[in-house]
């Protein structure tokens, strides 16, 4: 009970959206009212028409009844149209607002949130949860209003015509609501079970296909088929259970509605014989019973919708109440509006929630115009180190200073604006190449775009595409090679004219010759900036002012290329390996 209550309070957070569209919503409710008015009046005239047949009625009189019935149908139709055009439209508008708010919020969240929550999870909130909340705002509200109002209109009218018949005719209907609610719930659960089984089945198939080599080499095809059959059979069983439930459900629905009609004819017929009811009234009753069926069904259905929506909204509230870990706070010094680029680490240590001591006691300092290079084996903590410079995470121990100020005191926007970052995995958006290169600047100018593409040695490639800089990247357009992607991301970083340039192993997919050319171009650019370069290739970093060799989160060696070679340690062996690799490649 308690849980349910808290779940229902979750829906309260939707109130602001309802208030925003109150005018349209109220109008919609008013239309529901009018629809039902025409609804209830139609059968009254059918009844009168039938009863008039006993007395002498003229053809024009009958035509009159016909016209009244038609005009009521038109009136009802128009307002039914307007109901959907208001209430359902409002639900789409509110959905739009909710989605915008959610996205805005997601953009504020820090990397630690994205590290602990999968993309699929966040996407599910955006689809399933918002959809079920939307169902509550639209059909949920529409049908509950309709059910309520049709009861208010139809039942008193029936009672007025004949209260005894009303009571008898209505006996099966509440049972129907109850049935929809109860069985509907079980069906929903069974369905969820089926979905789960379906995804088990799917992932089994997927595993089998991706492990097909193992399956074949151990000659396990038959047992794989057997296991699949087992899962398939479970799926069949669950589906048959749903089939049974649906069979029960639909049959009892038909039974209850059919029963209502039989009761009206049977008991109504009796009343007609007793002269307590006219034949027309009886027809009227049959029509009313027909009209009450859907609202009764809707009642049970709406209750389920509301329950699902409240659970979804509770999940949405969870993410909406998440406070971003990294943001400008009271300690932020808003007088800092520009950064020159001096970066200093003092005894910095860092751990991820799921991995301890990714970095330990890291200290260094790099000035504008200098190049700091970082190398070392995979998993040594190189990328983490530059992530800290961009403040994607906050340090646990020690301090990072930028221009001598603690990094936390610098407004986030100012800090990131001064950084040009080229990630290890080239991430481009499905947009034109131009927009991708200009991604980090507010008002890009064409000349600058050409310049940076030139420096990143991608200009010629781009101009070879039929649509040049307007070429689409990604699913909808062209697929760039790894090297082309990397060079595009370099251009994107340069485009910002950053004071701090960070290259995270971003030349791994271009050949050594191209790399040399790019580095030559970059050298000019780097002259006035602070540069941090991560690379596995010694050739990339040998000219750096300082080289840090990271191993297991610690600085194992540091110095210049020459001084490191003299150490004859990790760096030297890396260097020699690369020389050998080159030699081997040259062999035929």
């Amino acid at each position: 009970m308690n849980q349910q209550e808290s779940a229902f309070t979750a829906l309260k957070s939707l109130n602001p959206y309802l208030v925003r569209y109150r005018k349209k919503l109220l109008l919609g409710l008013f239309f529901v009212l009018l629809t039902n008015l025409f609804n209830v009046l139609g059968p009254v005239y059918v009844s009168q028409a039938i009863d008039s047949l006993k007395s002498s009625v003229t053809t024009s009189g009958l035509m009159g009844f016909g016209l009244i019935i038609i005009s009521f149908a038109i009136g009802r139709g128009i307002f039914l149209f307007l109901v959907r055009q208001t209430i359902i439209v409002v639900s789409r508008e509110a959905e739009y607002d909710i989605r915008n708010d959610l996205y805005t919020h997601i953009q504020f969240l820090s990397m630690s949130y994205f590290k602990t929550h999968s993309t699929g999870d966040i996407l599910a909130k955006n689809t399933n949860d918002i959809n079920s909340v939307r169902s509550y705002l639209g059909p949920g509200i529409m049908y509950s209003a309709n059910t309520l109002i049709s009861f208010i209109f139809i039942i008193p009218t029936m009672l007025y015509v004949n209260w005894k018949l009303t009571l008898i005719a209505l006996i099966p209907l509440p049972l129907m609501s109850y049935l929809v609610f109860k069985v509907g719930k079980i069906i929903h659960q069974t369905y969820a079970g089926i979905q789960a089984q379906y995804s088990t089945l799917t992932s089994r198939v997927q595993e089998n296909f991706s492990g097909i080599r193992i399956v074949k080499s151990f000659v396990r095809e038959l047992s794989e088929i057997e296991q699949f059959e087992h899962l398939n059979r479970d799926y069949l069983r669950k589906n048959l259970k749903l089939g049974r439930l649906q069979a029960i459900f639909y049959s009892s629905m038909s039974l209850l509605t059919g029963l209502s009609v039989v009761l009206v004819i049977w008991f109504g017929g009796y009343l007609v014989i007793e002269n307590q009811l006219s034949l027309g009234n009886m027809t009227q009753f049959v029509m009313y019973v027909g009209m009450l069926i859907w609202p009764m069904i809707a009642l049970g259905w709406v209750i389920n919708i509301i329950q699902q929506a409240s659970a979804s909204q509770a999940r949405l509230n969870l993410i909406m109440n998440e406070v971003p870990e990294i943001r400008d706070e009271s300690g932020t010094d808003h007088t800092i509006v520009k950064i020159d680029g001096k970066v200093e680490f003092r005894g910095v240590g860092f751990s991820y929630p799921d991995r301890e001591n990714v970095l330990r006691d890291i200290s260094f300092s790099v000035q504008p115009g200098e190049i700091l290079a970082i190398t070392g084996p995979t998993g040594a903590g190189k990328s983490t180190l530059v992530n800290l410079v961009m403040r994607l995470f906050d340090v646990k121990n020690g301090q990072i200073l930028v221009d001598g100020n603690p990094i936390q005191s610098i407004p986030l926007k100012v800090l990131r604006q001064s950084i040009g970052y080229v990630p290890q995995e080239s991430f481009l958006f499905s947009d034109t190449i131009r927009n991708n290169i200009a991604f980090g600047v507010e008002f890009p100018n064409d000349e600058a775009i050409l310049d940076v593409s030139e420096t990143a040695l991608i200009r010629e490639n781009i101009e070879d595409f039929p649509q040049k800089f307007e070429t689409y990247v990604g699913e909808r357009g062209i697929t760039l090679s790894g090297g082309q992607k990397q060079r595009t991301t370099i251009a994107r970083a340069l485009m910002r004219e950053p004071n701090i340039l960070i290259l995270d192993d971003c030349l791994s997919s271009v050949d050594t010759q191209t790399e040399d050319l790019i580095l030559q171009g970059l050298r000019e650019v780097m002259r006035q900036r602070t540069s941090i370069i991560i690379s596995h290739r010694i050739s990339t970093i040998q000219d750096a002012d300082q080289i840090l060799v990271l191993n297991n989160g610690e600085i194992a060696e540091r110095g210049t290329h020459e001084s490191l070679l003299k150490l004859n340690g990790l760096y030297t062996s890396l260097y020699q390996k690369q020389l050998l690799e080159e030699e081997l490649k040259a062999l035929t």
Partner: protein, 594 residues
């Protein structure tokens, strides 16, 4: 954008006789049920329309005449008919569900089993996602057809026929007048369906756009934040979101028009009945009961017609899916070649490559006339840089791919002379990327073989010394591994794969050693395990471990698809050629650490 969904967009026929014939085969094993299904369908379609007919008799013959007993009798009759109808309906719903689900079950199993028999070339050529959807979602569409499309269509047709029959038997003129709105109804619902479909497609496109934007931006959020793009990306999102909303709102329009229009048409029919029929009643050509009956038929008649267009859609989708499914099932050329008949219980283990040429594509040779031979029980290390052809050699040996020229022999027989499964079960493979399935440790070790008792598994694990870590897992051998064994360390996964090979007790082992580094203790265990697995067997190893190199009898050095050097470690080192360089690059470091 369109390319994204072309797969599930039906455009073709709603009924393809050829496809239907093949589909019907899956229902035929249950002939009795089909018979009962059809019978029940006919019966309940008959009983439904009977009720309004009986109410008309109740009104005209008993109520109007004040016949008490008659009313009770007919009331009871209607009730009984209702009960039977419900019973039949229940039976029918269940039978169709059962038939449909059974057919789906069989079809799904058939597709999966078929795919198990296809060769690796097929798996390389077809994106996994597409193959998966053949087994899953395509079959699911057919489920919809079996359970709600096909049978419902026949049921509805029967029902319409009975209603027409009863109507015309009662009064053909009033019937014609009632039916006069029908063409509008049919036209309207098909028009609506077309519009609704257009709008549905538009909505789908918008949903896909929204999703791919979100997907991209959530996974690239760091880039958005680092480049201070939050505000501008929000503006873009709002634009997409607006289009998404508007597409939905346009869709609402069609629904808001269609349902009131249907409503209006049935009211029109009622009005016509009242106007024309009423006149007839006044002239005593017709009774009030008949009017009552016709008014009830309007509802019974219109619903199936309104749903007809929806059923049409279901059928269209089902035809498209079954077309895809049967196209797949017709891919016989990709079934693994298994023409060999030679069945052996044991291989001696003599392996010979005789001028083998192999290419995955046309003339891009990966192996260029590779020749070497391995004596029974010999341990051979394959050494070479990436792309030198090592992996291809072991793929050919396990008959995963065909080769174009030359011959591979085992014990003097061309490998293609052996019966495939008997052949493969004599060869044990440990791949670099250890593939583990979701399931228990035990299941992963036996790979579903039930003839290996737990005791034997434990014994093998003890030999490899994997039992020490397995016994520390919660549930030990019943410990549930997550996808790809994600909850085990790299070293543990490798040890598992060694136990696996020992259990299958092959005559020839093929080992592709993993490069990833593990801690010293595990490294020691793995070295022991490698030794154990190779013992008393012919072994061909893509060696990444110095210890493996040292233990091998012969080293074959591959370079760019050719055998360049052959000999022992010492011989090759003295030669000062490719091997020496490779050694310094790949193995030398292990001298220091190992």
């Amino acid at each position: 954008m369109a390319a994204l969904f072309h797969e599930d967009e039906p455009s073709g026929k709603a009924l393809d006789i050829g496809l239907m014939k093949r589909l019907v085969r899956y229902v035929l094993p249950h002939k009795k049920l089909v018979f009962w299904g059809v019978l029940l369908s006919v019966a309940s379609s008959f009983l439904g329309p009977l009720r309004p007919y009986l109410s008309h008799i109740a009104i005209d013959d008993y109520i109007a005449k004040g016949d008490w007993n008659g009313l009770h009798f007919i009331g009871l009759t209607i009730l009984v008919i209702l009960l039977f109808e419900i019973l039949f309906q229940f039976g029918l719903t269940y039978i169709t569900q059962y038939l449909g689900q059974k057919a789906i079950f069989d079809l799904r199993l058939e597709i999966f089993s078929f795919l198990q028999r296809l060769n690796l070339t097929f798996f390389d050529k077809n994106p996994l996602g597409r193959l998966i959807s053949r087994v899953t979602s395509d079959v699911e569409v057919l489920n919809e057809m079996f359970s709600s499309g096909l049978v419902a269509i026949f049921g509805d047709l029967f029902r319409l026929c009975f209603i027409l029959l009863l109507m015309f038997l009662t009064d053909w003129r009033l019937s014609l007048i009632t039916l006069s709105v029908l063409p509008f109804m049919i036209y309207g619902s098909f028009l609506f369906r077309r519009k609704a479909r257009e709008s549905y497609l538009e909505v789908r496109v918008q949903v896909a756009k929204l999703m791919s934007f979100l997907q991209e931006h959530i996974s690239g959020m760091s880039i958005v934040q680092i480049f201070n793009r939050e505000e501008r990306e929000l503006r873009k999102f709002k634009k997409i979101n607006t289009e998404h909303r508007d597409a939905h709102i346009r869709g609402i329009y069609y629904y808001s028009v269609f349902y009131p229009a249907v409503d209006f048409l049935s009211a029109l029919a009622v009005a016509l009945i009242v106007w024309y029929g009423g006149g007839e009643v006044v002239q005593s050509n017709l009774t009030i009961g008949v009017l009552f009956m016709f008014i009830q038929y309007v509802e019974q008649f219109f619903r199936p017609i309104r749903d007809l267009s929806e059923k049409y859609d279901i059928m269209q989708r089902a035809m498209a899916s079954s077309d895809r499914i049967f196209t797949l099932l017709d891919r016989a050329p990709y079934v693994e070649k298994n023409e060999g008949v030679l069945k052996v219980d044991k291989l001696q283990g003599a392996v010979e490559f005789d001028h083998v040429w192999s290419a995955y594509q046309d003339e891009e040779w990966i192996l260029k006339g590779v020749s070497f031979s391995v004596k029974p029980g010999e341990k051979v290390a394959l050494v070479g840089a990436t792309g030198s052809g090592k992996t291809t050699i072991i793929s050919l040996l396990t008959r995963f791919y065909p080769y174009q020229k030359g011959t591979i022999r085992i014990d003097g027989h061309d490998i293609n002379e052996f019966e495939l499964s008997a052949f493969r079960s004599r060869i044990g493979v440990v791949l670099q990327d250890v593939f583990l399935f979701t399931g228990t440790v035990y299941e992963n070790l036996t790979l579903g073989r039930r003839d290996i008792p737990l005791e034997k598994v434990k014994e093998a694990a003890r030999l490899v010394q994997a039992d020490s870590f397995i016994s520390k897992l919660p549930g030990e051998y019943n410990f549930l591994l997550s996808e790809r064994g994600g909850n085990l360390s790299v070293g543990q996964r490798q040890l598992i794969s060694f136990v696996r090979v020992l259990l299958f007790n092959p005559d020839i082992v093929i080992l592709d050693e993993a490069t990833s580094s593990v801690d010293t203790e595990t490294e020691f265990l793995i070295q022991k395990a490698v030794e154990l697995v190779m013992k008393d067997r012919t072994a061909i190893v893509i060696a990444h471990r110095l210890s493996t190199i040292h233990k091998s009898d012969k080293i074959i050095v591959l370079h760019k698809g050719e055998v360049k050097e052959t000999g022992s470690h010492q011989q090759l080192m003295n030669k000062n050629g490719i091997y020496r360089k490779l050694y310094q690059l790949q193995y030398k470091e292990q001298e220091i650490t190992g």
